[in-house]
């Protein structure tokens, strides 16, 4: 018996019990749909991380205050030992580092007339904008002189500008942080969401001196954004920076470090690590729901074999071989799982579109995931269809014909 006939018979048998077939496919539909949707979310996140890495530049080196005692990161931002002098020492003594910008951050209420908003406030130097490759869309940035004099000037992220000024032009206007007036000198280019889902445009940037003294009331800094001369130099600079900082902070044992040094390759490494964990999680969820779906198919196929015992007997009496009967039921199971797979893929695509549209998460459709989902769905049909098909083929034609 040729394949088209087998397929036609299978489709007809399935369409006879439409609701039952649909419910049976549901397990596969949900499994496949969930995988397609989550993979596209994961891919979207990964794309953002990659973009983030690119925007920081592969030469970037990140030096953060923080301790690592007792094997856990404790008091990450509470460590007070990292200073601008450390940064200057690095620039002076580690020639692999080309430029660096200190960062202090805090959160504070910002007021313009009757509008107020609570953005992240960052204090830094003009190098920050260069290292992060972040330009202004209006106005300019503050100068080295303004850093030195701790001037009350700031650059706004687009979110802050919008919240405080609406459609008004913020350049030259005066806002207040607490009681202190600040002049707005520029508005940053929009950056959108980070890989972690936070709004990167919700920040106000001022000279670090101003933030340290007038807003946060501290003398230390939280981290340093540095840039090495090349990508390889970034890697090579790490031990040099560590040695220098240990010397300056009088640390003997690396376990007592009160700082972390990392590069973009570390970030990328971490991203792939996260992705691996994510994939594992996804894989296990997917396999569980697909196995459940497969068992559903097997169950219905067994019911179907019993219900159609007489039909099987008739088919055998008119010349169907065991192989014919086996193939018929197997094709039926695979048709069901494949249809479930296709519907699952479609609903996964619709789902990720909806997530992108309504939750604003970035999604990226993966062709590989679609191909794999299709193959797996077919495999499930075969795996769980074999036993019912075998059972059907083992029926004795005489008994099958007599079956009530």
């Amino acid at each position: 018996m040729d394949f088209m006939n087998t397929l036609r018979i299978a489709l007809r048998a399935l369409s006879r019990n439409k609701l039952r077939s649909a419910l049976t496919m549901l397990g596969i539909i949900i499994g496949v749909g969930a995988v397609i949707a989550t993979v596209s979310i994961g891919q979207g996140a990964e794309y953002l991380i990659q973009q983030g890495i690119e925007s920081l530049g592969t030469n970037a080196v990140f030096i953060a205050a923080g301790s690592n005692r007792a094997g856990a990161r404790t008091g990450f931002w509470g460590v007070r030992t990292l200073t601008v002098e450390d940064m200057e020492a690095i620039l002076r003594e580690v020639p692999l580092i080309r430029s660096a910008a200190p960062v202090v951050f805090t959160r504070a209420q910002v007021v313009y007339q009757n509008q107020n908003w609570r953005p992240r406030i960052e204090g830094t130097t003009p190098e920050y904008f260069q290292i992060r490759r972040w330009g202004v869309q209006a106005g300019g940035i503050f100068s080295e002189d303004e850093v030195r004099s701790a001037a009350n000037v700031c650059v706004l992220g687009v979110t802050v500008a919008r919240m405080l000024f609406g459609n008004q032009d913020p350049i030259g206007q005066t806002i207040r942080i607490g009681e202190i007036p600040f002049r707005v000198v520029g508005v940053l280019e929009a950056k959108g969401q980070s890989a972690m889902g936070e709004d990167q445009d919700d920040r106000l940037i001022a000279p670090y001196t101003t933030v340290q003294r007038k807003i946060a009331g501290i003398t230390w800094i939280h981290y340093i954004n540095a840039s090495a001369i090349t990508k390889d130099a970034a890697q090579a600079a790490v031990p040099q920076i560590e040695a220098l900082l240990r010397e300056r902070h009088r640390i003997r044992n690396p376990e007592d470090d009160d700082f972390f040094v990392s590069t973009q390759s570390d970030v990328a490494e971490m991203a792939t690590q996260t992705e691996r964990v994510m994939n594992l999680l996804l894989g296990s969820i997917a396999s569980v729901s697909l196995i459940v779906g497969g068992i559903g198919i097997m169950n219905i196929m067994l019911v179907s074999v019993t219900e159609r015992t007489r039909e099987i007997g008739v088919r055998m009496a008119v010349g169907a071989t065991e192989a014919d009967v086996r193939r018929q039921f197997l094709v039926e199971a695979v048709t069901m799982s494949m249809a479930g797979g296709v519907i699952g893929i479609a609903s996964g695509l619709v789902g990720s579109w909806a997530i992108a549209k309504f939750l604003g998460w970035p999604t990226l459709i993966s062709a590989t995931a679609i191909v794999i989902a299709t193959v797996v769905a077919a495999g499930i049909g075969i795996l769980f269809g074999i036993y019912p098909a075998w059972k059907a083929a083992q029926l004795d034609p005489i008994e099958a014909l007599r079956y009530e």
């Binding site: 018996m1 040729d2 006939n5 006879r16 007489r310 039909e311 007997g313 008739v314 088919r315 055998m316 009496a317 008119v318 010349g319 169907a320 071989t321 065991e322 192989a323 014919d324 034609p397 005489i398 014909l401």
Partner: protein
């Protein structure tokens, strides 16, 4: 009204110089039911020639269906041999038996056994699918077979839309579609009223006479056996009598003498729902 025996109970040779189609040699069939052994056939030897029309009779449990299953290659004898068309069928594999069922044997059952919610035409096409014929060939053969049983106009009806007699005619068309050498019918009229039974016998007689098809049918009714050419009587798994039918009835001649019901639907519903006896029993007619 009685059937006269032409030959004795031990005569079991192919009659009338027909070329041999079936030969059973000392066939036994034993069913094992746990500890108990059921000896359904106890040494059946028999020859049937091409073009014969044999009625198998006997009490319930005498082994008629067991014999038919073996003749139809649905089952294999426990002992003894079965030659069909010169081939020793008892030695064949399951796949080869399926092939023989498909090519050489046509089955008709008491329960019709049509696939539900499948049109008459597609039911008739079923054996051609397993014969590997092209769709066009399948279609034309199935239509031709339906025409032979006078149901071409019902090709697209579902079994549930047909009367019992019509369903049995579809089943006969299905049995014929692969041009088998033998038609096996186990109580084909068991679920039909007497007039419809005679109509079925008319079709079988026609196929036998005009097309030379070999027919073996099981029946409990002497009236049905009267349409056959030869009768085998079974008792306790053995052939007790084997004789040619004298005064063979011709269904085409009997039919006009049977009353036709005014309300045809009554017959059809009755025939379909339950093996209702015809409104007029056969003994009243003759």
């Amino acid at each position: 009204m009685s059937i006269e025996a032409k030959s004795g109970p031990t005569a079991n040779t192919a009659s009338g110089g027909h070329a041999e189609l079936i030969r059973l040699e000392n066939v036994h069939k034993i069913y094992h039911l746990g500890e108990v052994q059921v000896h359904a056939l106890r040494g059946v030897s028999l020859q049937i020639g091409r073009g014969e029309f044999v009625a198998v009779m006997g009490a319930s449990g005498s082994g008629k269906s067991t014999l038919m299953n073996i003749l139809g290659c649905l089952d294999r004898p426990t002992r003894g041999s079965y030659f069909l068309d010169g081939t020793d069928v008892s030695q064949l594999s399951k796949v080869e038996l399926a092939r023989i069922r498909n090519q050489k044997i046509g089955f008709v059952f008491q329960q019709f056994n049509l696939l539900p919610r499948t049109s008459a035409l597609e039911n008739v096409e079923l054996p051609t699918i397993y014969a590997g014929l092209s769709p066009a060939e399948r279609h034309s053969r199935a239509l031709a077979a339906l025409e032979r049983v006078g149901l071409a106009d019902r090709a697209h009806h579902f079994p549930s839309q047909l009367s019992g007699g019509q369903q049995q005619r579809v089943a006969i068309a299905r049995a014929l579609v692969n041009r088998p050498s033998i038609l096996l019918a186990d109580e084909p009229t068991g679920n039909l009223d007497s007039r419809t039974s005679v109509e079925i016998m008319d079709i079988l007689q026609h196929l036998n006479e005009e097309e030379g098809l070999t027919v073996v049918l099981v029946t409990h009714e002497h009236d049905i056996a009267q349409y056959a050419k030869r009768v085998l009587e079974f008792r306790d798994g053995r052939i007790r009598k084997d004789y040619q039918v004298s005064d063979r009835w011709v269904a085409r001649e009997v039919l006009p003498t049977l009353p036709v019901l005014d309300d045809l639907e009554t017959v059809e519903l009755g025939a379909q729902d339950a093996p209702a006896p015809g409104p007029v029993s056969s003994s009243e007619v003759w």
